[in-house]
Symmetry: C2
Subunit: 377 residues, 2 copies
């Protein structure tokens, strides 16, 4: 046992992997799903409940936290872990993706990105150096380099130009991160749907050398087949002894397919956001609890699930509280969805460790289509 960040590859099953990310704040069994705690809270959950779902690491958003309550304030209050009462590891993004998608009037130069806050319109600036500084102030265990996120549909030439900027920013991010053995700095592979650019990105990133590698710029509209194609062209090029993180993904079958293609870590707002919208992921497919067919159903959401929503309440109750816009609906469905995701990851880890990952994938595909009525979200 050491206090340094490290990664152990425990087993491989074809391209799929089972491993352990070691951090001073605890180990993370991979493949791992990281619930998103954007504004210092995994929405509608208490931290101990997040832990009960099986989560070993959560994600925080640099963009949101720098605007409110502010990175320096969180540092004065003892860091993000203490502030939000989560003692396990935290990965923070660099803020880049949110700046590109949420902020107003953003202006990108080689130096960084100038933008106006979506909260109060205040003028802000984010550079590779400032992004790493904020993540250091937050006390993040896994810090992400700042990158530019080209919009989906950009031409190859635009992606290539954007990639060049991202590579310059990655080198500056790594230099700003410096030597912090107890913490990790992850690079982000970009390059859109173009294998040539993905390859160039991997080469440059591994040349700089990071503690882990994210695959970015996916799940932005390209569709699952294109996403899987990119993964197949990318993960074989990445060093086997470093964790691989697919950013912002995804639906259960996206995660399953990405694990089959060598990904170790995931984050996504889907289980939490869907929960707040009355949607539940179950072993027999996704359910929209708003649907009137649940109004008299005494059955639990998912008979195999161990979460409070499934142990104590009926579909009829969940339907009622969703319809009545009660906060408890968000609480229960978020808890359920996060539990479902963590159970999926646990089963994926067990399958990958025992050479059963293909069989497990087939079983999932069969069971997800079992719900008799397909429900639109």
């Amino acid at each position: 046992m050491t206090d340094a960040f490290s990664f152990t590859l425990r087993a491989t099953d074809g391209v799929a992997r089972a491993g352990i990310v070691h951090t001073p704040r605890g180990d993370i069994q991979t493949p791992a799903f990281m619930p998103v705690g954007t504004a210092a809270t995994v929405k509608a959950m208490l931290p101990e409940s997040v832990r009960e779902t099986g989560a070993e690491i959560i994600l925080g958003n640099t963009y949101h936290l720098m605007l409110r309550p502010g990175a320096e304030r969180i540092a004065r209050l003892g860091g993000l872990h203490k502030f939000m009462a989560w003692s396990g590891p935290i990965l923070t993004d660099s803020g880049g993706f949110q700046v590109m998608s949420l902020a107003k009037l953003r202006k990108i130069t080689d130096e960084g990105v100038e933008f106006r806050s979506h909260i109060d319109g205040s003028r802000e600036f984010l550079s590779p150096e400032r992004a790493m500084d904020i993540q250091r102030l937050l006390g993040s265990d896994i810090q992400m380099v700042l990158d530019e996120c080209p919009s989906f549909g950009a031409l190859e030439a635009e992606i290539e130009k954007s990639l060049a900027l991202s590579l310059r920013w990655a080198a500056r991010s790594k230099a700003a991160f410096g030597q912090q053995p107890t913490r990790a700095c992850f690079g982000i592979v970009q390059g859109g749907v173009f294998p040539r650019l993905r390859q160039r990105s991997v080469e440059a990133m591994t040349e700089i050398g990071f503690d882990g590698y994210a695959v970015g710029g996916l799940a932005v509209g390209e569709g699952q087949p294109a996403m899987f194609d990119v993964l197949e062209a990318t993960t074989p090029l990445l060093p086997a002894n470093r964790p691989r993180y697919l950013m912002g993904v995804g639906k259960p079958d996206d995660i399953l397919g990405a694990v089959l293609r060598g990904i170790d870590m995931f984050d996504c707002v889907l289980p939490t956001r869907s929960g707040r919208n009355g949607q539940a992921f179950t072993r027999s497919g996704t359910l929209n609890l708003r649907n009137a067919r649940h109004a008299d159903d005494p059955a639990p959401l998912d008979t195999e699930c161990r979460c409070p929503a499934c142990r104590k309440f009926s579909r009829a109750y969940l339907h009622h509280v969703v319809k009545a816009n009660e906060i408890v609906a968000s609480m229960l469905l978020t808890w359920h969805n996060l539990t479902y995701y963590q159970d999926l990851m646990r089963d994926l880890r067990a399958a990958a460790a025992t050479g059963a990952v293909q069989a497990f994938a087939r079983e999932c595909a069969r069971s997800w289509s079992a719900e008799p009525v397909s429900e639109a979200h």
Copy 2:
């Protein structure tokens, strides 16, 4: 130990009382505060968390439940306790107060009240008999008679006429309730701020004979001194061997004053609603967490409190999540406020049982004014 509903008066301290309401679903130590679970949920809380605050009984609203999800549906699903996963006693109101204040186009006749739902405008009818039928379908442990609730500011003659109707409805409610030894039926004393009418109401109610007596029609704008005057004119007339319930009250000092005037049971949306609005009750007064002065405060809300908001989070964190409109703010502040209320009741019970209730009241008044800055809600 019996399965019948009963009340034991344990001790008196002046007019203040300490007692136990026995129900087949568990005992309720009095003075007791009942959190409000309007639509089959104490808003922003899980039932086990409500129990952890110390609550031994909760309140459900007949008006809301009859409209959504419907009393017959709840009965088919096994009753309100099972539906909302609360195994302790539940008191239900009769729906009268909400019909008068929430429903549209209500029309009151001797038979009952016709109204339109505030949810979908559907035409509905509530009579004394239907109100008791709904409460039976819900499986309520303590059922309230239907009464008319005159608006504050009504003339004495109007109150007198309304009282006469309420007394006829009370007799019909009791007849409809019939003999249910494991459940209780409470009458409601009305009469506005007029001692003569309150006395007449008490006489008629005790003549009918109920398992407990509520004091209704208060906390509607008359002010605390007038409310206390009514209690002083009413509670001495009520039988000592029955619990007394002050409906819809109130702030901590309202409750304290009412206990000093012989009340045993309370319900109010204040701790839950205030929690959702960023307001916290503490041993040193009420705090508005939205106030910027909390932004950098590492101290807990209340150092003596055992709730998760106080054990794990700072005022700075609570300020942040209130400002960011995060659901966890409602969850934590509701949990805190309910814990505060239950701790107050626990201390009141201990004081009433040991002849210390006046000293305790003086101590509360001193400590509630200790917060240096008085904060508007």
